[in-house]
Amino acid sequence: MKRFLMTITGVLLLIFALPVFASAHANLDHAEPKVGATVSQSPKEVKIWFSQSVEPAFSTIEVFDSGGKQIDKKDSHVDKADKELLIVSVPALDPGTYKVVWHVVSTDTHKTHGDFKFTVKR
């Protein structure tokens, strides 16, 4: 019995000694600018917080103007301190409505995608 318990303990220790993996499906939690919001000043970045960690290599945010032209700086990246935060830089935005399209892969390899709009006030 003692040997059995030691074996079981060994198995669990070995398994839980594996590196930390946070894995799940990532869905939009909140964003900045907020989903559907009207802002008075052009943001410097579009930030999206997801419900779970995302894979940097397969996760992007794209920002399009009302004419469908991509206007972001194509530098989508996951925040170093917060693996659930995806960021893309944008130039100074003229007044108008912008569409944000995101595609992410969560750390358990599942894909999710979505879009929302925000408006920069005149």
């Binding site: 074996t7 398994i15 594996l18 894995s23 894979e55 892969v105 390899t109 999710t112």
Partner: protein, 339 residues
């Protein structure tokens, strides 16, 4: 404008309407999804079997201090050795297929395009899934080293099973990090429940396969020898199953609490309905096991007919177990809580 995120449909490959790659080919996409389900199910099955043979060798077929007829020992060895070897081969091939199919999924690959080898490389080198797979390849290699003497027919199976037990448990248990088990905290109650669920499955229902093999082999024993050995074999297996089923139910309930959300999701989500089918099949297998334990086991020393019924019951239980593993392959691709 969709203020809420658009979730992918519960298949291996999701079709993204905004990726500008044109229409997909449903038949080929469906084939890839089927391949993904098959790869996952085969991988689960192979990893289960490796641990299952160790458990059966160490605690069921001939535990320390228990005598087994020579013919049982010989045939069990002749069965177990290649089965461990082939399970390792299938675990490697299906694990590689899982990696490739996950890469196709992540890279938005669509039928007709060239194979995205670059995506495979990125998945392997720069994702958590790739890191997990690297560690699992290492665990697989350790199992191979421990099992090599057994596979080539030189080592003592009982002694080697002790060596194989630990790394093969880790190989199987680490699959908890490849699925839904770590939603929330990677070290939380959910992942513990998922690891327990996986490991216990190696005892039951996976143990039904070696049990059936030993029961079939026991037909060649004399009546007295058969009744004596089979009766004690089934007693040991049933005791293990009672503990296994209790742990399976407990860990399964914890998993459901984390993944499913409201109980109504059993009916209103595709994941819930799929899980309901799995639970129903498990319930059926438990019912068959209960018949073995409560009725047939007591008659084993009295009636030869009970032994035949036992074999048929175990075969039916095993069929249900195979269907359960297939459903597990499918469940991992679905998103819980999605209608």
């Amino acid at each position: 404008m969709s203020s809420q995120p658009t979730r992918t449909r519960p298949t291996a490959i999701s079709s993204s309407p905004s990726n500008g790659k044109g229409a997909t080919l449903p038949a080929e996409q469906s084939l890839i999804t089927d391949l993904f389900v098959a790869a996952r199910a085969i991988h689960f099955g192979a990893c289960l079997l490796i641990l299952c043979f160790c458990i059966f060798q160490l605690w069921i077929v001939k535990p320390r201090g228990v005598a087994a007829p020579a013919i049982i020992e010989n045939r069990w060895r002749r069965f177990a050795r290649p089965m461990i070897g082939w399970s390792l081969v299938f675990a490697l091939i299906s694990g590689a297929a899982w990696l490739l199919l996950a890469s196709l999924n992540m890279s938005d690959w669509e039928p007709g395009e060239s194979f995205p080898w670059l995506a495979v490389k990125i998945v392997w080198q720069a994702t958590q899934f790739g890191l997990l797979w690297k560690i699992r390849v290492g665990l697989w290699a350790i199992v191979c080293v421990c099992a090599a003497p057994v596979i080539i027919g030189r080592g003592n199976l009982n002694a080697r099973a002790k060596w194989i037990f630990l790394p093969s448990s880790a190989l199987l248990g680490s699959l908890a990090w490849a699925g839904h088990g770590t939603e929330g905290s990677p070290y939380g109650l959910h992942v513990i429940a998922d690891v327990v669920h996986l490991l216990v499955c190696a005892a039951w229902p996976a143990g039904l396969l070696p049990l059936l093999v030993v029961l079939l082999t026991a037909r060649t024993l004399s009546v007295q020898e058969r009744q004596s050995y089979v009766s004690s074999l089934v007693a040991r297996f049933s005791t293990m199953c009672l503990a296994a089923v209790a742990l399976l139910i407990l860990s399964g309930v914890v998993n459901s609490l984390y993944l499913l959300g409201p109980w109504s999701n059993f009916l209103y989500t595709s994941y819930g309905r799929c899980l309901l089918i799995k639970i129903a099949l498990t319930g059926g297998a438990i019912a068959l096991g209960a018949i073995n334990l409560l009725i047939l086991r007591r008659r084993l020393t009295q009636s030869e007919g009970s032994q035949s019924l036992l074999r048929i019951n175990v075969a039916l239980e095993l069929t249900l177990a195979i269907l359960i593993v297939l459903i597990v392959g499918w469940l991992g691709l679905m998103e819980p809580g999605t209608p």
